[in-house]
């Protein structure tokens, strides 16, 4: 019962932390759009957390570059568990056109699974996904949690 309460509370107030691991910045702009008055994700209790320690959901954009690899793994370790990860944009889902780049370490889900094989990861494809799509993705991911 306690576990159910935990999961319910997590769904009611997911605080997000935004990690750019090598996106072109367009996905990041769409994420910021979600926080604007027009989309107002605070209605669902979603807040932008200032530190990964406060976060419940990591919003990862872009394929992981070799430089960002260690940083992403460190941020994932610093996030208080239970936490989820949302890969936003085609780059973060499948590497998109950067799949064969000499400087890429792989998609974020692979990089994070090296640290935690059971990480809860959801995907929102699109280049970039619309804010509506991001909100829908977040809601579906929380429903599946």
């Amino acid at each position: 019962m306690l576990a159910a309460l935990k999961r319910w509370a997590l769904k009611k107030s997911p605080w997000v932390y935004h990690v750019n691991t090598g996106a072109c910045n367009n996905c990041d702009i769409e994420i910021l759009d979600c926080l604007t008055p027009r989309f107002d994700v605070e209605r669902f209790g979603i807040l932008l957390a200032p530190s990964p320690r406060h976060a419940d959901v990591l919003l990862v954009t872009g394929g992981v570059t070799l430089q960002a690899r260690g940083a992403l793994q460190e941020v994932y370790r610093q996030t208080a568990k239970p936490c989820a990860m949302l890969c936003i944009g085609s780059c973060a889902c499948s590497m998109c056109i950067f799949a064969d780049g000499y400087h890429m370490a792989g998609p974020p889900d692979k990089v994070v699974r090296e640290v935690d094989p059971d990480a809860f990861i959801a995907y929102v494809p699109g280049c970039p996904p619309k804010p509506e799509a991001i909100i829908l993705g977040a809601v579906k991911a929380l429903g599946a949690l």
């Binding site: 509370a9 107002d40 605070e42 209605r43 957390a49 320690r53 406060h54 610093q78 568990k81 239970p82």
Partner: protein
């Protein structure tokens, strides 16, 4: 002062303050949202946040001072609880308060800020240390005018140092004095700084030092901080209403007008927070020392001279 009265008041006060604080937090977020043309969170959102954080993992940074880091939120919370009990006791029965409880409440209301400095400084994070140092400077800045403002009320009511006496003398016409109004306004501005609301939120500035003092907290300790902050968000308006505005005493009518005054103060704080940009720490210190302190000194002197 029998034991049942003390325990009863303590339990009622802590629960009541926690509920009032969470509701005030919601008022804060909702009014902010409405000011920005948003819908805003549901009523129970602050409660959801705290429940969620209670269910999460506690992380302690490797280089942090473990005891200080984890004890600081407990100290802050405990102080807020005792302050709540004293304030509520004075409002429930003004004739039965401790002598000199104004001074005790004053110090207890200071403890959460001190605990915040301890917690930030022991978390081994440069952002948190900057936040702690700013909080310390801010305390030095606002405590002096706030003390003088409270002194205005004390002087105006014939040097009464207990809350019950202040409530009774405010009921007897002292609350109508001009100097009391000046003291109240200064008190509201200092409360803004004490609660870390926007023009004076440099200790936790999300956009520059990432939450400052709170940056390394996670899970239950963070939940305790949020609850303490919510309780302070209720206690400071109650304190202001009690000291300057006659409190909540006087049966059902007193409670109703008291609640109205309380909501007014909360909305005032929220509107100040929404219409101002963040100051730098030196600007804030100049504002409190050179701006408010002289006015407060004049108010105290005039209060002694029966204005």
């Amino acid at each position: 002062m029998d034991l049942a009265w003390i325990v009863g008041v303590f339990v009622v006060a802590v629960l009541g303050t926690a509920v009032a604080g969470l509701v005030s937090k919601w008022i804060d977020r909702k009014v902010t949202a409405r000011v920005q043309w948003r819908t805003g969170p549901p009523l129970l959102q602050p409660l959801y946040d705290i429940l969620k954080l209670l269910g999460k993992e506690t992380l302690v940074p490797r280089q942090a001072r473990r005891a200080g880091f984890l004890l600081a939120p407990v100290i802050g919370f405990a102080a807020a609880c005792v302050a709540a009990a004293l304030l509520w006791a004075a409002n429930i029965d003004p004739s039965r308060t401790l002598p000199g409880d104004l001074i005790l409440v004053w110090y207890l209301l200071m403890v959460p800020s001190v605990a915040l400095i301890i917690g930030g400084a022991s978390s081994a994070n440069p952002h948190a240390v900057i936040g702690a140092s700013r909080e310390m400077k801010l305390m030095l800045a606002y405590e002096l005018p706030m003390l003088l403002a409270v002194l205005t009320s004390v002087v105006a009511s014939g040097f009464t140092f207990n809350l019950g006496g202040l409530i009774q003398s405010a009921g007897a016409g002292v609350a109508g004095k001009i100097t009391m109004a000046v003291g109240f306004i200064i008190g509201v501005l200092c409360t803004q700084a004490k609660l870390g609301l926007v023009p004076f939120d440099m200790a936790e500035a999300e956009t520059e030092i990432q939450g400052g003092v709170y940056v390394e907290y996670s899970g239950p300790p963070l939940a305790l901080w949020l609850l303490t902050r919510a309780m302070m968000f209720a206690l400071m308006p109650i304190f202001l209403v009690t000291v300057f505005w006659g409190g909540f005493a006087g049966g059902a009518a007193g409670v109703a007008t008291g609640a109205l005054k309380y909501v007014l103060v909360v909305v005032l704080l929220v509107l100040i927070r929404n219409t101002n940009p963040r100051l730098r720490i030196d600007q804030a210190m100049r504002f409190f020392w050179y701006g408010l302190t002289p006015i407060a000194v004049v108010a105290v002197i005039l209060a002694a001279a029966v204005f």
